[in-house]
Symmetry: C2
Subunit: 450 residues, 2 copies
C-alpha cells in the first residue's frame, strides 16, 4: 500500500487503481498448447487480471526449445528464449509458470525456481503425483508458494473448492470423472452404440486422445489427479502405489447396453472414500445409476462429486483439458499468488499438514461394493446353478440376473448384479468360476456405486 | 510468524503447529438455524479449522434475543448474550459473524462492526442485494474485510469460484437454480405430476418453504442472489430494480407436461448474460432442454452454470440452504479471513472495481428469446390462423405447435414454441391475441434457453 498507480482503462473495466507499485514479473516455461493459452489469456484479459491482482503484470520470458513455430499468438521476440534456466535464474522474475510437463526437466526447473525464491505455478499432475513429497518439502523448506489448480480438471476450480471452499469439512467421499478422453470414449460407446476401438479412433481423430492412449484409457492420468485430490482431502501426500488402477479397455459396447438395462451408465471414476479410520483410493470403470448427476456428464467434460460432513453433496463441472480451460486455471493461480506478492506477504501453503504414515489406505481386497459381473457361459441347463453355487460359497448374493442372448450349447454372456460384497470374496469366487468347464473367457467385473 | 504453538491433536489431524500465536476471536450474532450450524461446525471440526487458519480460534460470543431455548448444541453459558452491540463493541473480537438476516438491525450491526475495525462474515443476501453499495462502501472506507459466501447458494463455493477460480475470465453468462424451494416445487410437479398448490404444501410440510412462500415462489430470493452473482461477474454493484423478476405461481402441471412433450423441463432460473455492451439480469421460469446439465438438478438442490470467455462452461452444484451447508460456507469465510488476520494483513476486497453507471442493463423489452406460449382458445376452425396471423405481424415465427385436448366449441389449451423473437414484439402480440374473442384467459409465456 505504498503507492497508487492509475492506469487508463480502455474498457470494459474502469481505470485501474493499483494498490501496489510492484510489478509482478512472470517467466513462462513451455510454449505448447497450454502455454499458448496462458499468453492469449494474459493478452486478452490483461486489465482484468491486473485489476484483480491489484498490481501490473509483465510477461518477461517465454521459454521453449522451439521458439520459431507460429503459434497464432503474437509475442515480442525479445521475451522468447530457449534457455529455461535463464528464466529461473533471472532475479527480476517473481513467478515461474512451468508448463512443459513430465517429471524430468520440469522437476529441476520447479526446484531451482523455488530455491531462487520464486513462486511457482504448474499444471504438471504427473510430477505432483510422482514427486509430490519432494516438491512440497521444497516449498516448505524455502517458505515459498506453489499453486497447481490446472493440474486437476483443467479449468474447474476444484482444488480451490477443496482447499478453501470446503475447508470446514472432513471430506467423506469424492467421485471424479477426471479423464476427459475416457469419458468421451464411454459417452460415444453409450450414445452411438459403437465399440471401444471405434470410439477411441474418434477420440484420436478429434485430438482428445493421443496416438498412444495408454495414460488416459488405462486410468493412469486419472490416478495422478485422484492422488492430488485425495492428498488435499486428507492433508497427507499419497504415492501412486496407494492407488488401485484399472482402465476402460475391457469394457465392451455390450456391457454398456447391459448396464443400461439395469438403469446404469458406465463411467471411469476416480474414487476417494474416507470411513472407519481408513481411506480408499481407486480408479476403475464404475456403474452409476442413470439418475446420478455424474451420469449426465458427457463427452470430454470432467466433474468431481464431493461430499463433506458439513456441506453434504456438491459437484464441480467443466472442461478438464484444452488450451484455454487450462489457461483459465493457471491465470487464476497467478492472480492468487500475484495478490500475495503485491501485498508483500507469502501465501501459506498449508494444505498438507498430516504425515502420510498417519493415514491407512485400505487394501483393495478389503473394500466392499456391489458388482456387475459378465460371465461367458455355455448355454446348457445347470450353469446358473453352478455359478450361483460358487458365489454363495463366498457369501455373494445376487440382486439381478440378465441373460438376453440364448444359443443352446454355445457360449453366451450372462450378467449378474450382486448385493454388497467384499472384493476379496468376489475375486476368489471369480477365480473359481473361471476354472469351470462351462465358462469360456475371464469374467468381467465392474464395480458399482450409488 | 512470531512464535510456534504446538497443540496435541486428538485426531484425525496430526499435532497442529500454528504459524501465529494470535487467537482469532469470533463474535456470532444470530443463534438461529445457521448460527446453530456454525457453532456445531466449529465444535466438530475445530482442529481442522484451526490448522487451516494456522491459528487458534475462540468463539467468545453468541448473541441472540433468545438465549434460553435448547438448540441441541452445547454452548458455555458465559458466551451467550442478548446484546448484539456488546459483541460489536468488544475490542477482543476480530470477526463478527452476522446471521440474523433482514435489512434492519443486521445492517446496523455490520456497519458498526466495520467501523470498529472488525472483519465481517454474513449470509445476508437480502441486505447485500438491497444495500450492497452502502455495505461495500463502508468496507472500503475502513479498509476492512467482508466475506459472504453463504449469501448465495449456501454451501456451494460459487462466490469463491467467481471471484477467484474464474478470475481470468470475462463471465459471458450464468444460469442459476438459486432457489431450492422453487426447484423442489417444480421437481415434484414434474416427477409426480402434481399441481403447484400440492407441491407447495409438500415443500411447506418439509420445511423447504415458509408459511408465506412469497420470497421464494415469486423469485425475489433468487433475484437477491442473482444480483450478488451478477455484481461479482461484472465488477459493478447492481440494484434490485435492475432485475426483471417473475415467479413460478402461474406454472401449471399441464405446462410441465407440455414442455416435456417438446423435450424440455421447467426451472426457475436466475439468468445473467453479457453481450453487445450490455448485461441481462432476469429471474423467471425457463424451459431448458432435458439434456442440459441443469435439468438434472433436482429437489432443493442449487446449481449455477457459468460460462467464461476462457474456461468455457462450468457448473457448481450443492445444497443452497439449510443449517450445515450454509455453516460450511460461513466457516470457509472464517478460515479465509482468519488466515489474513493470522498473517497480519488485510484481505483486499477488490471484487467491485467498476462504477454501476458504466454498465448498461438491457431493458427486458429488448431481450431476445425463444418462447413457450400457452393459449386458451376455443376449439373451432380458423383459430390457429387468427393467432399465427397476429404473431406473424410481429415477425414471430413458430417452430412447433402442440394441441392435445380437443373439445369442439370449448376452450382448450394450445401450445406453441417460437423461434427467436424480441420480447417487445411477443408482448405486443400477446396483448393483441388476448383481446381476441376466441381466446379466454391471459396467455402464459415461458422463456426458453438452450
Amino acid at each position: 500500500m505504498n503507492g497508487v498507480q492509475v492506469v487508463g482503462g480502455s474498457n470494459p473495466l474502469a481505470p485501474t487503481i493499483f494498490m501496489s507499485m510492484k510489478t509482478i514479473t512472470i517467466g513462462l516455461i513451455g510454449f505448447g498448447t497450454i502455454g499458448k493459452g496462458v499468453v492469449k489469456t494474459l493478452q486478452a484479459n490483461k486489465e482484468l487480471v491486473e485489476t484483480r491482482i491489484g498490481a501490473p503484470i509483465q510477461l518477461k520470458w517465454v521459454a521453449d526449445l522451439d521458439i520459431t513455430s507460429d503459434r497464432g499468438v503474437k509475442v515480442d521476440p525479445s521475451v522468447l528464449t530457449t534457455d529455461a534456466m535463464q528464466v529461473v535464474n533471472d532475479p527480476d522474475v517473481d513467478v515461474v509458470i512451468e508448463l512443459i510437463g513430465g517429471c524430468g526437466v520440469a522437476k529441476h526447473i520447479i526446484l531451482s525456481a523455488l530455491r531462487n525464491g520464486k513462486s511457482v505455478i504448474t499444471a504438471n499432475k504427473a510430477l505432483l503425483a510422482e514427486h509430490g513429497n519432494e516438491i512440497f518439502s521444497a516449498v516448505q523448506a524455502v517458505n515459498g508458494m506453489i499453486a497447481y489448480e490446472a493440474s486437476v480438471c483443467g479449468g474447474i476450480p476444484v482444488i480451490k473448492a477443496l482447499r478453501e471452499g470446503l475447508v470446514a469439512n472432513n471430506i467423506q467421499s469424492m467421485y471424479g470423472i477426471i479423464n476427459g478422453t475416457a469419458n468421451y470414449i464411454l459417452t460415444k460407446m453409450t450414445q452411438d452404440g459403437i465399440s471401444y476401438e471405434e470410439a477411441l479412433k474418434q477420440a484420436q481423430s478429434l485430438g482428445y486422445a493421443e496416438a498412444d492412449p495408454t495414460l488416459d484409457v488405462e486410468g493412469i492420468d486419472a490416478a495422478h489427479k485422484l492422488l492430488i485430490l485425495g492428498s488435499l482431502a486428507t492433508g497427507a501426500i499419497f504415492e501412486m502405489r496407494d492407488i488401485y488402477i484399472e482402465g476402460i479397455r475391457n469394457i465392451t459396447d455390450k456391457d454398456i447396453q447391459y448396464a443400461a438395462e439395469f438403469g446404469y451408465g458406465v463411467k471411469l471414476l476416480g474414487i476417494y472414500k474416507q470411513q472407519a479410520g481408513s481411506v480408499e483410493l481407486r480408479v476403475h470403470p464404475t456403474l452409476l445409476p442413470e439418475s446420478h448427476l455424474l451420469s449426465s456428464v458427457m463427452d470430454a467434460y470432467n466433474a468431481v462429486f464431493i461430499t463433506g460432513d458439513i456441506v453434504g453433496h456438491t459437484m464441480y463441472y467443466g472442461r478438464g483439458a484444452g488450451e484455454l480451460p487450462t489457461a483459465s486455471a493457471v491465470v487464476a493461480d497467478l492472480v492468487d499468488i500475484g495478490r500475495s506478492i503485491a501485498n508483500g506477504k507469502g501465501r501459506h501453503n498449508n494444505e498438507f499438514t498430516r504425515d502420510r504414515s498417519s493415514v491407512v489406505v485400505r487394501d483393495m481386497n478389503a473394500i466392499e461394493s456391489r458388482y456387475y459381473l459378465r460371465f461367458s457361459v455355455i448355454d446348457i441347463p445347470g450353469v446358473l446353478g453352478q455359478i450361483t453355487g460358487v458365489l454363495g460359497k463366498y457369501r455373494i448374493s445376487i440382486s439381478d440376473v440378465y441373460q438376453k442372448e440364448r444359443r443352446k450349447g454355445e457360449f453366451v454372456p450372462l450378467v449378474m448384479i450382486t448385493h454388497h460384497a467384499k472384493e476379496q470374496g468376489v475375486r476368489a469366487a471369480l477365480n473359481e468360476i473361471d476354472q469351470l468347464d462351462v465358462v469360456k473367457d475371464k469374467t468381467l467385473l465392474i464395480r458399482m456405486e450409488d
